[in-house]
Symmetry: C2
Subunit: 429 residues, 2 copies
């Protein structure tokens, strides 16, 4: 972890730079081939790929059976179930409050325009296997999908060599109203949900994190076949700290980010070198007591403490960076938040650790990384809906607006557009 | 234009299929090379490309000068200015009404979650040159950008060999608050706005239609560098007609779609063969009187009239197709609209031609094509904003929610996430 003491503005650009995903033609070619096979051969491709890549026999099919959900639920402790209920309640109430309303405006006499929100019919969720069973992501994606009113919520997730999916993932899927869960991992899962197979329904939008193969597959199908939630990148946190912050808390938040994976990035912005050193030593002290040492060591090597001369520079730097998670451990943090123009999610003051938002406060944890906060929202209720417009002109409305339309159509050289109005106006009734 | 009489459900899939863009490796390679040059060489690449591709000398620079705006405005007729004012007013009032509000929920005692809408700072608009000067698209993109509060709205558009941009395009740009207009066309314009050059500022999101090179460039930068509005495809209209419709109006709407370009598609769904034949003959009659014959002839060859036995099948087919523009010229059209789950924009009854929405009613005309209406909204005020979440936990809030977070973090094997909570709760104050 390197400390930068008052870097000049000319260095900000490079200090804001994320590790660029190295272009990997090999990954793209592999994924393209997998997608083509799934599109062409459906279930047969999925079976063959499971046996080729995972060395797994799937004659029993991919779909999680009722008995597996029941067995998983029976193995979840009462206290974890209770915790999940609290999180479900908070996430639901925050996302419920986001439901958009229909908008109706009479823009001109006899011309009424509506904007009507409608749920996306079928959505797909990918939950990675790997190092941690991310059942919290099931909550973050399936609950808003259900609240939005999506009629089908399909999930794909890899299983182990015996065909087991983590209990908490299955329990959360059932609890949050996922329609069907399929034991399919990797690029082939994305292909299955994008194109549909005999077993897996095609969806309209795919959500969820994943490894390189998964995110490459999402990117490829996203430009041709289905919508995707947002571009993927390694997780990151920025903590802005001043004399009102507690170095131990800053260190703890930094480390909770760093344990996600070896490419995570933690950034601390503070206003004195003294505080920077205190945070650095608290980080070292706490890191020594944590598991997942390897991830933490690697992530810390990507991480930075940057000392800036004053609050206004600190906030300007935060806006430039556009962090996925931005913790404001500074004086008057709500005032500071009102000056933030780019962040995925903001955490206010000393008692709002990132892990609150990761699990249970109610906000969504699927957030834009790598500076995409400058142009993308995190997942929210809108992510599961579309807004259609509707317009109704009365004859009087068209009479009033007709000349405007005809004039503009003619100026664009589009005579048939003009004719669609004049043919109606010329007609007597 | 082919008539399909009561096709079976098994044929619906193929009847809903759009012409697939033929994969063109050549276009992709050309565009990739152009983007790389613009990213690397900035303005120098833009100058060289203008001279190579457009055979145009740009020593005078790319930026439209104040005097050019003034000259353009002086050549626009008073009646066109008046028409533009009406459109500006209607588009503004409909998009103003869409401005989202901040949402605040206390999800749990001491845990407050906010969703705060913030404008995207810098947006870029591409306006094609080509066969028609699309100044209406300037209105549809620049007005909502300004209403959302984007601080910079940049526009690129090709010019002719003398360096002129269509008067109406310049007039509309100035009228709608575009910050700067650059005479740059093609993939290089998209590269300039994505990466930024010495002259053209880098933006956070790029909007607007374009030819194959432009849309390929948008797709390429969209997965790596900036957000884009939506995937592109040829324009299309579907008209659902019954005995309450007027065949002449249906034909006029169909033809106004068909004049857009040779790859446009018109679809008519009606409930009797008699009506189908009347619409067909009205279309032939009107087509003979319109300019842009070549586009219309080609588009009509992509177009279809489909006879279905009843209203419920007609609406089911419309939902399956997911039209960019859907005209409901049927009995009780608002009731029918409430059953529509996928369309870009819906036009109600006999006096709401598509051209009303294309120009002046107030709705946006940048809409999802090619079935993307199943997963995307048309451009609306949200397209120019992001929604950040903010959370504030009090100490009491964290005390109440702490165990839930710790329990879930532990179940995911993320000890540092749990530690970020417990270190705060263990600390006395």
């Amino acid at each position: 972890m390197k400390i930068y003491d008052n870097p000049g503005r000319d260095q900000w650009k490079s200090l804001c730079q994320r590790a660029k995903a190295t272009e990997n033609k090999q990954v793209e070619e592999t994924v393209t081939a997998i997608l083509k096979r799934v599109e062409r051969d459906g279930d047969r491709a999925l079976s063959e790929l499971a046996s080729e890549i995972e060395k797994r026999d799937v004659t029993g099919g991919f779909k999680v059976e009722e008995s597996e959900f029941e067995a998983a639920a029976s193995r979840i402790s009462a206290s974890l179930k209770e915790a999940i209920e609290v999180a479900v309640k908070n996430i639901s109430s925050f996302h419920q409050a986001q439901l958009p309303r229909e908008i109706i405006v009479e823009t001109f006499p006899g011309v009424t325009c509506l904007q009507r929100p409608v749920a996306i019919e079928k959505v797909g969720i990918y939950i990675p296997g790997g190092t941690a069973p991310l059942f919290s992501t099931v909550l973050m994606l399936a609950l808003p999908a259900r609240i939005a009113g999506c009629s089908k919520v399909v999930m794909c997730t890899p299983c182990d060599s015996e065909g087991h999916v983590a209990d908490a993932v299955l329990y959360a899927a059932r609890r949050c109203g996922v329609s069907e869960v399929f034991k399919i991992g990797g690029a082939q899962a994305i292909g299955a949900m994008a194109y549909g197979t005999e077993t897996v329904p095609a969806v309209n939008k795919i959500f969820g994190p994943g490894n390189r193969y998964v995110t490459t597959a999402k990117q490829l199908v996203g430009s041709t076949t289905v919508a995707i939630d947002m571009p993927a990148g390694p997780s990151e946190v920025m903590i802005v700290a001043d004399s009102t912050s507690c170095p131990d808390y800053v260190a703890a938040d930094l480390l909770s980010q760093c344990e996600h994976g070896s490419d995570s990035q933690g950034m601390v912005i503070c206003d004195t070198m003294e505080l920077a050193l205190e945070i650095e030593s608290a980080t070292k002290r706490q890191a020594a007591m944590l598991p997942r040492e390897e991830y933490i060591a690697k992530s810390l090597s990507n991480s930075r403490i940057i000392v800036l001369p004053n609050r206004s520079d600190m906030l300007a730097f935060a806006n430039r960076y556009g962090a996925e998670h931005l913790i404001l451990s500074i004086d008057e943090p709500m005032v500071a938040a009102s000056q933030i123009t780019a962040a995925g999610s903001i955490f206010i003051g000393n008692y709002s650790p990132e892990s609150a938002g990761d699990y249970a406060s109610g906000t969504n944890h699927t957030l834009p990384t790598s500076g995409w906060a400058h142009s993308y929202s995190g997942v929210n209720i809108d992510s599961f809906m579309r807004k259609m417009t509707i317009q109704k002109l009365t004859r009087r409305g068209l009479e009033g607006l007709g000349n405007t339309i005809i004039k503009m159509a003619e100026a664009e050289g589009l005579a048939a557009h003009a004719n669609a109005v004049s043919i109606r106006l010329e007609n007597g009734n």
